[in-house]
C-alpha cells in the first residue's frame, strides 16, 4: 500500500449493523432532546432505546455466523465477540427496564430532575415539584452501550482506547445523577472520573510502549512482533503491565478496586446495576481479547500475574465484604470478589478458560441485575434503604421479594442448583486443567468466607424482627417486575439446565486473529 495515499477502508456495514443501530439511535436521542417537547420526550426516548437494543440484537442474531476482521482489521466480529455483544445488549435491555422505572420513587425516576441544579437548592425543589424527568440519561446510556460493543470487538489498541472512553464517559455522568443523596452521588461520579482518567492514562502509556516495541497498535502485528523478537522484552513487558492496569481498573480487581464501593453506593441503583453487569462483561471481553490475541506469546509472563491478582481480589473482596453494614457496599465488595473468580478463567489462557469466563459473566450479570432491582425497591422516605439492619424481617413482610434476593445471594455464594455454582465450577475446572491447583484452593476458601456474609443477609431478612420505621417495598411497574423475573429465571435455569448455554458458548469458538 502506498503510504502517501489515503485509501478509504472497505467496510462491511452488515457485519457492523448492531453497533450502527445503537450508535444511530444514540445520536437520534440527542436530536430528540433538542427538538421534541418535554412531555413527549420520555416515550420517544424509550421507544428509541428499547427499539434499538432489540433491533441490534436481531441484527446480531441475523449476522451471527460472521467470522471476519472488519474496518482494516480494527474490529473483529468473531464468535466470542458476537456472544459478548449479545450479552451486553441483553443486559442493557434489562438494565434499561430498571432505569425506566418511575413508580418506586414518589417523585419520579431514579435520576435528579436536573443534574445542574444545586443539591438542596430551591431550584431543585421546584423542579421536583413540577415532576421534571431528565431524559438525557437515555442517549448517554446508548453511547455507553456502543462503547462497550466496540470495546469487546476492537483488535487495535487505539480503537480499544477510544472505545474505553466512549464507554466510560457517559457512565461517569450517569453515576452522578442520583435523585436522592445527591452529594454522595456527585462525589462518587467525580471520584470515578478522576480515577478512571488516571487508569486511562496508564492504558494509553502502555499502548505507546507497546507501539514502541512492535511498531504497530494492531493486535495481530503485536503478536507477530513478539514472535519475531523473542529476546528484547523489557519494553513490551512494561507496556503490557500498563495496559493490564488500565483494564484491571475497569473490572475492579484488587489493588485497583477502591473506587468500586464508593461508586456502587453513590450511583442510582439502576445505573449501578448496568455498570456492575455490563462494564464487567465489556472489560473482561476486552481483556480476554487483548491477552489471548495480542499477548498470547507472553502468556508465561501474564499468567502468574493474573494468579496473584485473582487470588488477592477474591480474598480481599470476600473478607472486606464481611465488615460492611451497607448493602450496596457489600454487593460492591462481593462484585470485586466475583471479578477475582472470572480472572481465574482468564488466567488459564485456554479455550476452556475463555468459555468458562464467558459463562461466569453470563451468570454473574443477571444475578447482579436482579440484586439491584431488589435494592431499588426497598425504600424508606429518604430513598433506597441500604443499611443492612433496615432489611430485617423483609422475609416476613415481603416473602416474594426476599426469596428472590435470597436466591441471588445463594447464587453469588455458589450454592448448587443456582447459576453461580455452575459458573464457579466451570472456572475451577478450567483452572485445574492447567494445574493451577493453588489458585483453585484459594478460590474455594474465598467462596467459603464469602458464604458468611451472603448467608448473613438471608438471616437478617428471614430471621430478624423488622426494626422501627422499617422500609417498605415499593410496588414497581411492569419494568422492574419483568427485569426481576428475568434475573431470577436465568439464575435458577442456569443452575439446573446450564448445558444449552454452555454448548452455545463452546460453539462460538475462540477469538479471531
Amino acid at each position: 500500500m502506498n503510504p502517501d495515499v489515503m485509501v478509504a477502508p472497505e467496510i462491511d456495514y452488515l457485519a457492523l449493523l448492531p453497533m450502527i443501530i445503537v450508535g444511530v439511535a444514540a445520536v437520534l436521542g440527542v436530536i430528540v432532546e433538542t427538538f421534541v417537547g418535554r412531555g413527549a420526550r420520555r416515550p420517544v426516548q424509550l421507544v428509541l432505546v428499547f427499539g434499538s437494543l432489540a433491533g441490534a440484537f436481531a441484527a446480531l442474531v441475523w449476522q451471527s455466523s460472521t467470522r471476519s476482521l472488519e474496518v482494516e482489521g480494527a474490529l473483529a466480529i468473531d464468535g466470542p465477540g458476537i456472544l459478548l455483544m449479545g450479552l451486553v445488549l441483553i443486559v442493557a435491555f434489562v438494565g434499561a427496564m430498571l432505569m425506566a422505572e418511575r413508580q418506586l420513587d414518589p417523585a419520579g425516576d431514579s435520576f435528579a430532575p436536573r443534574a445542574s441544579a444545586l443539591p438542596g437548592s430551591v431550584d431543585e425543589r421546584e423542579l421536583t415539584k413540577r415532576g421534571y424527568l431528565q431524559t438525557e440519561v437515555w442517549p448517554l446510556f446508548l453511547f455507553a452501550v456502543v462503547g462497550m460493543m466496540l470495546f469487546i470487538t476492537s483488535t487495535n489498541l487505539l480503537v480499544m482506547f477510544v472505545a474505553l472512553e466512549v464507554m466510560s464517559l457517559p457512565l461517569y455522568l450517569l453515576a452522578g445523577m442520583a435523585r436522592r443523596r445527591r452529594l454522595l452521588s456527585q462525589e462518587a461520579a467525580l471520584k470515578y472520573f478522576i480515577l478512571g482518567a488516571f487508569s486511562s492514562a496508564f492504558f494509553l502509556f502502555g499502548a505507546a510502549l507497546v507501539y514502541g516495541f512492535s511498531g504497530s497498535v494492531e493486535f495481530s502485528a503485536i503478536a507477530d512482533a513478539l514472535a519475531a523478537k523473542p529476546g528484547e522484552t523489557a519494553l513490551i513487558v512494561i507496556g503490557l503491565a500498563m495496559l493490564v492496569v488500565g483494564l484491571l481498573f475497569k473490572v475492579g480487581a484488587v489493588p485497583f478496586h477502591q473506587w468500586v464501593p464508593d461508586v456502587y453506593q453513590g450511583s442510582p441503583a439502576p445505573v449501578t446495576a448496568f455498570m456492575a453487569a455490563a462494564v464487567k462483561v465489556a472489560a473482561f471481553g476486552a481483556m480476554l481479547r487483548l491477552l489471548y490475541v495480542a499477548f498470547g506469546g507472553l502468556r508465561w509472563d501474564w499468567e502468574p500475574l493474573l494468579w496473584v491478582v485473582a487470588g488477592l481480589t477474591m480474598i480481599v473482596g470476600s473478607i472486606v465484604a464481611i465488615a460492611q453494614t451497607d448493602i450496596k457496599r457489600m454487593i460492591a465488595y462481593s462484585s470485586i470478589a466475583q471479578a477475582g473468580f472470572i480472572l481465574i478463567g482468564v488466567s488459564t489462557a485456554t479455550a476452556e478458560g475463555l468459555w468458562a469466563s464467558i459463562f461466569y459473566l453470563v451468570a454473574y450479570s443477571f444475578t447482579t441485575l436482579g440484586i439491584f432491582a431488589v435494592i431499588s425497591m426497598v425504600r424508606d422516605s429518604g430513598g433506597e434503604a441500604t443499611r443492612i439492619e433496615q432489611w430485617s424481617g423483609l422475609g416476613r413482610t415481603n416473602p416474594v421479594i426476599a426469596t428472590c434476593f435470597a436466591i441471588f445471594m445463594l447464587a453469588l455464594a455458589g450454592i448448587p442448583l443456582t447459576s453461580g455454582f455452575i459458573a464457579k465450577f466451570v472456572v475451577f475446572e478450567a483452572a485445574l486443567a492447567v494445574d493451577a491447583v493453588a489458585l483453585v484452593i484459594v478460590g474455594v476458601i474465598a467462596s467459603v468466607i464469602a458464604a458468611f456474609f451472603y448467608v448473613r443477609i438471608i438471616v437478617v431478612m428471614f430471621f430478624r424482627d423488622p426494626i422501627e420505621g422499617a422500609p417498605r417495598v415499593a410496588v414497581p411497574s411492569g419494568f422492574t417486575t419483568l427485569a426481576l423475573s428475568i434475573s431470577v429465571a436465568v439464575t435458577v435455569i442456569l443452575g439446573i439446565l446450564p448445558q444449552p448455554v454452555l454448548d452455545l458458548i463452546e460453539r462460538a469458538g475462540v477469538f479471531l486473529r
Partner: protein
C-alpha cells in the same frame, strides 16, 4: 429424558473398560427418580402454594413421605429378588454439566448401601412427619415447617442415591440448607437464628473439604462417577489418595458434627424437636459416615487417612459423651450423645473393611433408637410447656406412662442391654475395634460405660425422683398422633438390631458394597460381651448412686474442671472464637484500615456525612481520591514487579 442411561453407560465403558456398567433401571426400578420427586413435590406445593395450602398442606406432606417410604419398600423387595452381585441399579436422568472432557450426569444409583439409607430416611421420616402433626399443631407456620421437612427428605434421598460425587454434593448442600432453615425455624428466638447461621457456616467449612476433594478426584481420575473412581482407586499415588481421604474426612466432620467441627450440633437443638430427631439424630448427621463408607475404596489405599478417621471418631466419642454427661438441657444432653454415637460409627468406618459394615449397622439401629429418644424428649417438653431443663423435671413416669415406657426401650437400646438393638451393633463395633487395635477397643468399652452413666442420669432426672416442676407446668401425656409413632419406634428400638442381624442378614447384604474382613480374636467373644456389659452396668450404678438422692433445682457450682468444661460444651465457642471468628474480623478490619473504633465507624460516619454533619469525615472522604490514586500507583508497581519476578529465572 429417562432412558439415556444406556448411552452414558456405553460411554463410561469406553473410558474405563474395566468397569461393569450398572444394570439399567427397569421394572419396579424405572421410577427411581420418583423417590426424590415425591417429597420435592410436597415441598414445592407447600412452599409455593402459600396460605391456600395451610389447611391440607401438612397432610399432603405426610402423604408424600409415606408414599416414598412405600415405594422404598417396593424397591427393597425388587432388590431382594435379584442375585447378590446384581443389586446395583443405575438411572441417568439427564446430562447436567458437560464441559470439555468433563461430564456430570444427573444419575442415580440404587444399591445395597443406598437402599438401607432410603428406608431409614423414609420410614423414620414418615413417623416423624406424623408425630409433627401433633407437635406443631398450634404453630402458625406449620405449613412452612412441613414444606422444609419435605425439602430435607428430598435432598437427603438425593445425597444417598447420587451415583457421582458432584450430585452427592448437591444433596449435601441441600440437606445443609434445609437443616439451616429448620434450626432457625423459630426465628423469633435470636438464639435460634444465630444457631442456624452457625450451623451453616461451620458446615461450609466442611463443604470446602468436599469440594476440594471432588476437584482432586476429578483431576486424578478424570471422572467423578463412583464406580469409575473406585475402579481406578488403586492407580493413583498414595499421597493423592491420602489428601482426598483427609478432605473427605473434613467434609464428614462438618456434616456429622465430629471433632473439630462439632460445635454447631448443640446449638442446632434450638430447632423444633422433630427436626432434632430427624435431621440431627437419625439421618443428616450420619451423612458423613455414609460418605466415608461409600468412599471405602479410596480409604482402603491410604492407611494414614483411615487412621485419621479412626482417631477423629475416638476423640468425638469421648467428647460427646462428656458433654452428654454434664448438660442439664435434655435435648443438649441428647445432642452430646448423638455426637458420641456418631463417633462410634466414624471409629468403625476408620477400621476399614473390618468395620464399614458395622458402622452402617450401628447407624441404622442408632437412627431408630435416637429418633425414639428425641421424640420422647419432645413429648416431655410438649407436656412440660416447653421446659427443657431436666432439673425441673422428675417423677414424670407417673403422668406420662407411654412416653416413659417407650423412652425406657430406647434407653436400654442405647446403653446396649441385650437383646435391645444397640447391644448388637455396638458390640460388633467393639469386637471389630479389638481386631484392629486393642487400645481403640478399650476406648470403645469405656465410652460405652459413660453412655450408661449419662443415659441413666437423664432417665432418673426426668422420670424418677420427686417432681421439681415449674409452677405453671401441668404435665400430661401427649396425644395419640404423637404417642403412636413413639410406640412404633420403641418396638423398633427393641427389635431392629435382632431383625437386621438375624432376619435381614445385614452383614451379608452390605458386604458386596463395603467388603468385610474378619479375623478371630485371641480370646472368646463372650468375654468381650461380658466385659462391656459390666462396664455399662458400672456406669449405670454410678449414675444411680449420684442422682438417687434429690436433684437440686439449680446446678451446683462446686464441680470439677471436667464437668465445668463439659457444661460449656468443651469451650468450643471460645475456641472457635479465638481460632476462626476473631482472626477473620481482625483481618477484615486490617484490610479496610479502620482503627479500634470498630467497623461501624465507617458506616456511621458515612451516614453522618450524608446527613451533612460530618465535617471531619468530609475531609477524610475527599482525601480518599488521592489515596486511591496512590494505591493504584502502588498496584501498578506491584504488577510490574510481579512481571519482573516471573522473568527473573
Amino acid at each position: 429424558m429417562i432412558g439415556t442411561g444406556a448411552a452414558r453407560l456405553a460411554d463410561a465403558t469406553n473410558i474405563a473398560p474395566v468397569i461393569q456398567p450398572l444394570a439399567e433401571a427397569t421394572g419396579v426400578f424405572s421410577y427411581l427418580w420418583l423417590l426424590i420427586a415425591l417429597p420435592l413435590l410436597g415441598a414445592t406445593v407447600l412452599l409455593l402454594g402459600g396460605r391456600r395450602t395451610n389447611r391440607w398442606g401438612p397432610y399432603f406432606a405426610v402423604l408424600m413421605v409415606v408414599a416414598a417410604a412405600a415405594y422404598g419398600i417396593a424397591l427393597l423387595v425388587g432388590l431382594l429378588g435379584r442375585s447378590a452381585d446384581d443389586r446395583a441399579v443405575g438411572q441417568t436422568l439427564f446430562e447436567w454439566v458437560f464441559v470439555g472432557g468433563f461430564t456430570a450426569p444427573m444419575a442415580l444409583q440404587l444399591d445395597q448401601l443406598s437402599i438401607v439409607f432410603v428406608l431409614l430416611i423414609t420410614i423414620v421420616g414418615s413417623l416423624i412427619h406424623i408425630y409433627s402433626l401433633g407437635y406443631m399443631e398450634h404453630d402458625p407456620d406449620k405449613r412452612k415447617f412441613f414444606g422444609f421437612l419435605n425439602l430435607f427428605v428430598a435432598a437427603m434421598l438425593l445425597l444417598v442415591l447420587a451415583d457421582n460425587y458432584l450430585l452427592l454434593y448437591v444433596g449435601w448442600e441441600g440437606v445443609g440448607l434445609a437443616s439451616y432453615l429448620l434450626i432457625s425455624f423459630w426465628q423469633y428466638k435470636p438464639s435460634a437464628a444465630a444457631a442456624g447461621k452457625k450451623a451453616f457456616v461451620m458446615n461450609r467449612i466442611g463443604d470446602v473439604g468436599l469440594s476440594l476433594a471432588i476437584m482432586l478426584i476429578f483431576v486424578t481420575f478424570g471422572t467423578v462417577v463412583f464406580d469409575e473412581v473406585f475402579a481406578m482407586a488403586g492407580e493413583a499415588s498414595e499421597s493423592t489418595l491420602t489428601w482426598i481421604g483427609l478432605l473427605l474426612l473434613l467434609a464428614a466432620a462438618g456434616k456429622s458434627a465430629q471433632f473439630p467441627l462439632q460445635a454447631w450440633l448443640l446449638d442446632a437443638m434450638e430447632g423444633p424437636t422433630p427436626v432434632s430427631a430427624l435431621i440431627h439424630a437419625a439421618t443428616m448427621v450420619t451423612a458423613g459416615v455414609y460418605l466415608i463408607v461409600r468412599s471405602g475404596a479410596i480409604y482402603d489405599q491410604t492407611i494414614f487417612a483411615l487412621t485419621a478417621v479412626m482417631v477423629i471418631g475416638v476423640i468425638t466419642m469421648f467428647l460427646g459423651a462428656f458433654i452428654g454427661s454434664a448438660k442439664d438441657d435434655i435435648k443438649k444432653s441428647l445432642a452430646g450423645s448423638t455426637m458420641s454415637q456418631i463417633g462410634y460409627m466414624v471409629l468403625a468406618a476408620g477400621l476399614g473393611p473390618v468395620g464399614y459394615v458395622f458402622a452402617i449397622f450401628h447407624l441404622l439401629t442408632h437412627g431408630v433408637f435416637k429418633a425414639n429418644l428425641f421424640l420422647g424428649a419432645g413429648s416431655v417438653i410438649h407436656g412440660m410447656n416447653g421446659e427443657q431443663d431436666m432439673r425441673r423435671y422428675g417423677a414424670l413416669r407417673k403422668v406420662m406412662v407411654i412416653t416413659w415406657l417407650t423412652f425406657m426401650a430406647a434407653y436400654l437400646a442405647i446403653i446396649g442391654i441385650p437383646p435391645f438393638s444397640g447391644f448388637w451393633s455396638k458390640d460388633d463395633i467393639i469386637h471389630a475395634a479389638f481386631e484392629v487395635n486393642v487400645f481403640v477397643g478399650v476406648c470403645a468399652i469405656i465410652a460405652a460405660g459413660i453412655t450408661g452413666f449419662y443415659m441413666t442420669r437423664m432417665v432418673i432426672m426426668t422420670f424418677f425422683g420427686k417432681p421439681r416442676w415449674p409452677d405453671d407446668a401441668h404435665p400430661h401425656e401427649s396425644k395419640a398422633v404423637m404417642t403412636i409413632p413413639l410406640i412404633i419406634l420403641a418396638i423398633g428400638s427393641m427389635f431392629t438390631g435382632m431383625a437386621l442381624l438375624f432376619w435381614g442378614d445385614i452383614i451379608d447384604w452390605l458386604t458386596p458394597v463395603t467388603g468385610l474382613e474378619q479375623s478371630p480374636l485371641p480370646f472368646p467373644t463372650i468375654l468381650l460381651e461380658i466385659a462391656t456389659l459390666v462396664v455399662v452396668l458400672v456406669g449405670v450404678a454410678i449414675a444411680i448412686g449420684m442422682y438417687r438422692k434429690d436433684v437440686p433445682e439449680e446446678a451446683p457450682q462446686d464441680v470439677n474442671i471436667l464437668t465445668k468444661a463439659a457444661r460449656n460444651s468443651m469451650y468450643d465457642d471460645a475456641i472457635n472464637d479465638v481460632l476462626v471468628v476473631q482472626p477473620t474480623y481482625s483481618l477484615s478490619r486490617a484490610f479496610i484500615g479502620v482503627d479500634n473504633r470498630g467497623i461501624d465507624g465507617i458506616v456511621n460516619g458515612l451516614a453522618a456525612f450524608v446527613g451533612g454533619s460530618g465535617e471531619r469525615l468530609r475531609r477524610w472522604q475527599t482525601g480518599f481520591a488521592r489515596s486511591y490514586a496512590l494505591a493504584m500507583v502502588g498496584g501498578a508497581v506491584l504488577v510490574v514487579v510481579v512481571l519482573a519476578v516471573v522473568r527473573l529465572p
